[in-house]
Symmetry: C2
Subunit: 242 residues, 2 copies
DNA sequence: GCAAAAGTGTTTTACTTACACCCATGT
DNA sequence: ACATGGGTGTAAGTAAAACACTTTTGC
């Protein structure tokens, strides 16, 4: 006696207890942003799934029974970049019925910010990871372009009202680097003197008393973000705002 | 031949195809805010599940195979309030392993804003729905207090930078009503004249040329929110900000 | 000494805050 | 006429925007 696939599925469904009936496939997808030489990048892989073969895809995985969605996202980040302790923020779920060719898959989108220099890219599992300029991505597999766009929107919003830009820069950076980051990601122009004054009055940078190396012009002073000071101030009515 | 429950579960698990292995129970939970006489309220039911019996609970349900999470939330809202077309916003997922006594259940939290006067409370399915003052809720079933707190945080943020306060008021309202709403929800004091000037310069209210009825003092003028005008302006660099 | 980017203050303008009295209605 | 909340403008202070030249380094 043999049964076909859809008969088998029917039998399985009948066996599954009531409280299992509503179960759904749940994944997380990570928009991993990096910043390099005036260019906002996102970590992509080539999609190996049928109607989207070869297209850019985000990095995601199923949420396991023993982990939270946050832990799933952190696991993916660790896998892709080699780092724990990465800035991570949940953005939104995506649950259109036919968003995935395999069947119903609901995903929760996260974005994270990494310093490209600190990531050891593990070209693992045969999948080729690469940093792709956000501006060069016109389409992606599944609904991943939509996910990317929303995460970018969310990043832009957060960039203005919390000090997360530093997550994309090396620990020590020049004021010019910081300003360019803001200009590139937000797609705006900033006045050098006003930008610097604002940072000065916010008082969240530490002058590390070092200079840029190997530039063919006057080297800039380097600073680092004063995390502790900011953390202590932010619960005392202080508002980051750039 | 008879088999016990855990044996049965093992058999079922073995039958389930690979891509089903990661399936999880997914629900949505709705924080339905209403505003009444200077008091922010939330729609609650009594929990009928064991360790939380009798405690306040949010309203939620499983996400069905044929609906998006948004549609699930809208279905719940329709069921509870009788209305479609309700302001609805996804906030965050909650996925702690043991957040639910039945087993692994991941939920996506939504908050929505309704005009209490417009809701026909359907005390359906034997569950008693009631409006409870947010300030009176010290604990809730499951992790629902945490969900409520986060939704309230999210509401407060949105209240300042988008014109959603109107969703909680009747179509026609006085400036005082609007100001009190802001004061109550944000827990701040506002200056009457400055508040009014700000609204005047934003130019998003229409004077409906009616007066308050049945008050034992000088009746206030009534206004309505100029949705169309706001929608046309917001893509032209205009920024709501209160 | 010249190219290239770093660094630095002042003035104007717009926005925010603080504040007190008269007005319209019901009783 | 009085109690109650509705309605209005101005002045001072603070934050944002606009703007140009000097300094340091490598070549």
């Amino acid at each position: 006696m043999s049964i076909n696939m859809s008969e088998k599925n029917e039998i399985i469904k009948a066996l599954i207890p009531l409280e299992e009936k509503h179960k759904t496939n749940l994944t997380v997808d990570c928009v991993i942003f990096g910043y390099d030489q005036g260019d906002l990048k996102v970590l992509t892989i080539e999609c190996d799934m049928d109607p989207f073969l070869g297209m850019y895809s985000l990095i995601g995985d199923f949420v396991k029974e023993t982990e939270t969605t946050n832990q799933a996202a952190k696991r993916i980040l660790k896998f892709c970049t080699g780092n724990d302790d990465i800035f991570l923020e949940e953005v939104q779920s995506f649950s259109e019925i036919n968003r995935h060719p395999y069947g119903r898959v609901i995903t929760i989108a996260y974005y994270s910010l990494v310093q490209i220099g600190k990531t050891k890219m593990t070209d693992n599992a045969g999948k080729h990871l690469q940093w792709t300029s956000v501006n060069n991505i016109k389409e992606m597999a599944f609904d991943h372009k939509q996910i990317l766009d929303l995460c970018l929107f969310s990043l832009r919003r957060s960039l203005r009202d919390s000090p997360i830009g530093f997550e994309l820069l090396p620990k020590k950076f020049s004021l010019k680097q910081l300003q360019t980051l803001y200009e590139v990601v937000l797609d705006i122009e900033l006045d050098k003197r006003n930008f610097r004054r604002k940072l000065r009055t916010m008082d969240i940078l530490i002058d590390v008393d070092e200079l840029q190396q190997e530039v063919s012009h006057r080297p800039a002073k380097l600073y680092k973000f004063n995390v502790k000071y900011y953390e202590s101030k932010k619960y005392n009515g202080f508002k980051f705002d750039l």
